[in-house]
């Protein structure tokens, strides 16, 4: 599975969510086929609630981990 990384650090809500959703839509076909996963890096704590809630409703799976001071949200099918 190939990884597409997107760095969302420094942004405030709702931009964190809206830009994440834009990325999900941009790579929708690859994500739906299961050939790619999207990895979003964020330092906005609330994004760890808003992004997973939104993409789970779209049928994706989500994993969250913390690397140093940053949260990493992995979105895949």
């Amino acid at each position: 599975m190939e990884t597409i990384e997107f760095d969302n650090c420094g942004q405030l809500c709702p931009s964190t969510l809206l830009t994440a959703l834009r990325e999900v839509n941009t790579y929708r076909d690859q994500l739906q086929q299961g050939s790619h996963q999207l990895v979003i890096k964020t330092d906005a704590r609330d994004a760890t609630r808003t992004i997973p809630d939104a993409v789970e409703n779209m049928g994706y799976q989500v994993e969250i981990s913390k690397q140093h001071s940053i949260y990493v949200i992995r979105i895949y099918k």
């Binding site: 942004q11 405030l12 931009s15 704590r45 913390k66």
Partner: protein, 368 residues
């Protein structure tokens, strides 16, 4: 030192430390609570605000019934005036554009967000801009006064309990349903996460203790004018000297446990407003900083799109300006005024909801 100043300063710092820590850990963003209703049709976070308002209302009513509140309903709450709707409206638009309210930007600044700091500075400029139109606004306000009374119970000439307890009983089934269905419990996805319902309980007690120790709910924005006036005095001392708004003494009272009078206003002085509000501001910044350091999340970050800087400056300016038109911010009105059933706070919330809706429309149109 006058012990009255000491009491309110110590209270302010402690309350601010608690607010900064809990807001950061619980992601208790009041902008998201209202904005997400319109932008994403999400009621997840606004539930906690309802819990907080209901609990605060009950706690304040019990304290009042026990005679524990020396200044009831509150100091600095004026008679019902529709100008609060206009203030709330402008505040709401600005809040959505900037992504911050008056406390949100403080706790985010404490965690290293440069966008948060830019919002604080923009709010100070917005509040200062109001000073220039204050005489005109105060004249206009005279025509918008709808009652001499401050609260609903006063207008209906009934004891506050006659309204508070029925409202509580009316909302209790809703709160119970949320509790039973697990809607008050969020997934813990961040380190050191505090459940927002716990934050709502903490903030209710902060409001209760603020009303007990200081005679009023927690406020922030008069001090934004004061901070601005300090800077303005450096560059335009003559203008500050002749501006009446900076010389008004809005507050003059004896705090609980004190025998000495404290007084203050928005001008460039270390007075009661500084003791009450600057202490809270410093407390929030410090509380959020220490809390973020504890979980390794303090991070100086200024890397954001230019458009976001533009939005926080414009939005922050509107928030600062709107908070002075109202007068009062979301914390003053929602944490304190609404639970006290103050007319102006209810007017402010009405304007705020409409402003949030408008701001959401603007933001969505820019993001498409």
């Amino acid at each position: 030192m006058n012990d009255g100043y000491l009491i309110v300063t110590v209270f302010g710092v402690v309350a601010g430390l608690i607010m900064g820590h809990v807001m950061f850990r619980a992601d208790y963003c009041m902008v998201a609570m209202l904005r997400d209703l319109f932008m994403f049709r999400s009621t997840v976070m606004v539930r906690f605000l309802v819990v907080q308002i209901v609990l605060s209302m009950v706690l304040l009513e019990i304290a009042h019934a026990c005679g524990a509140l020396s200044y009831y309903p509150s100091l600095l709450m004026g008679p019902a005036n529709l100008s609060s709707v206009v203030g709330g409206l402008i505040f709401g638009i600005g809040m959505v554009l900037s992504g911050n309210c008056v406390v949100g930007c403080l706790y985010k600044t404490g965690t290293g967000s440069v966008l948060g700091l830019c919002t604080v500075v923009a709010m100070i400029f917005g509040a200062l801009a109001f000073v220039e139109v204050a005489p005109m606004w105060n004249q206009l306000k005279q025509y918008w006064q709808v009652s001499q009374q401050t609260t609903l119970p006063q207008s209906f000439s009934v004891a506050s309990g006659w309204l508070v307890w029925p409202i509580f009983l009316l909302l209790l089934p809703l709160l119970w349903r949320w509790y039973q269905s697990g809607k008050l419990q969020l997934k813990e996805r961040t380190e050191g996460f505090i459940q927002p319902w716990k934050a709502a309980v903490v903030f209710s007690f902060v409001t209760l203790t603020a009303c007990f120790f200081t005679g009023m709910p927690v406020g922030i924005t008069t001090c934004y004018v004061k901070i601005g006036s300090w800077f303005e005095q450096m560059f335009f001392p003559t203008h500050v000297a002749v501006t009446a708004y900076f010389h008004n003494v809005a507050l003059n009272y004896v705090p609980v446990f004190s025998t000495e009078m404290i007084s203050g206003g928005a001008g460039p002085r270390l007075d009661a407003i500084a003791a009450l509000q600057l202490s809270v501001i410093i407390g929030i910044l410090l509380g959020a900083f220490l809390s973020a350091r504890r979980v390794g999340e303090f991070r100086l970050n200024f890397r954001a799109p230019v458009e976001q800087y533009f939005l926080v400056v414009v939005g922050g300016g509107l928030v600062g300006f709107g908070s002075r038109l109202a007068p009062g911010c979301n914390v003053w009105h929602i944490f304190g005024g609404v639970p006290l059933l103050a007319w102006n706070s209810l007017f402010f919330v009405f304007g705020l909801v409409v402003g949030t809706w408008l701001g959401s429309k603007v933001l969505l149109s820019r993001m498409r």
